[in-house]
Amino acid sequence: MAGAGCGEETTVDLDVRSVDDIRIITVTGEIDATTAPRLEAALGSTERGGRIVLDLSGLELLDSTGLGVLIRAGRRLREAGGWLRLAAPPRLVLRVLDITSLSSELPTHPDVDAATAAP
């Protein structure tokens, strides 16, 4: 869904870097129906079987559209031998993952270092 704009559009910054062969995507801002496609594109550009850490320390909102993007990306990566890990998710994101029983699909870690070092 795309809008014509009202002056208060949702914004998100996606900073992508690589450490060794792990792609780290830092998300700053809000993920909703207007910005989820950008996140999906960033996650989708990773090679099959890639390993991604999503740094959510600057995330202000993640709605179900964004959650769907993460679930699809996590499954796609896992099926090809890779993984998607969430680093420093806000409390509300942890709560949503917990109540929707998606915690096992999207492993969370306190920070990027812990996510990259996890076995």
Binding site: G3, C6, A33, T34, T100
Partner: protein, 132 residues
């Protein structure tokens, strides 16, 4: 002092952030909610509006979505309504139902109306029936 908030937006997702900003400010400043509870109201309102917008767009229609927020003595009530055919698919409010203390959806007069309630700290439970 105004104790309620009323917004009407076009069926355009670019207005979601505006709704979030206004509803969260209402919950925090007039509802006295802490950051965590205001964040719940913000996400729940955003999710409900997204469902309403999707319903309008799925029917290939232009239209508006009305959002009202009010204090009820127990917390914050948010009501989202839009014109909707009765045969339209149910709104996906999975996350809203998990986050809010009480969620109701009804159809009346050609509109679908979702009402959600988030309790304020120290005021548990849903509002009494008819409390508004």
């Amino acid at each position: 002092m105004t104790r309620s908030l009323s917004i009407e937006i076009p069926a355009d997702p670019s207005y979601l952030r505006l709704v979030r900003m206004l509803v969260a400010a209402f919950a925090a400043e007039l509802g006295g909610m802490d950051e965590d509870r205001a964040a719940v109201v913000r996400l729940a309102a955003s999710e409900t509006c997204t469902a309403a917008l999707a319903a309008v767009l799925d029917q290939h229609r232009t239209g508006t979505v009305a959002v009202e927020a009010a204090l009820d003595g127990h917390g914050v009530l948010v009501e989202v309504r839009t014109a909707c055919e009765e045969s339209a698919a149910p709104w996906d409010l999975t996350v809203v139902r998990a986050l809010a203390d009480d969620v109701h959806v009804r159809t009346e007069g050609g509109e679908r109306v979702a009402t959600l309630h988030v309790a304020s700290p120290g005021r548990t439970g849903a509002p009494a029936p008819g409390a508004r």
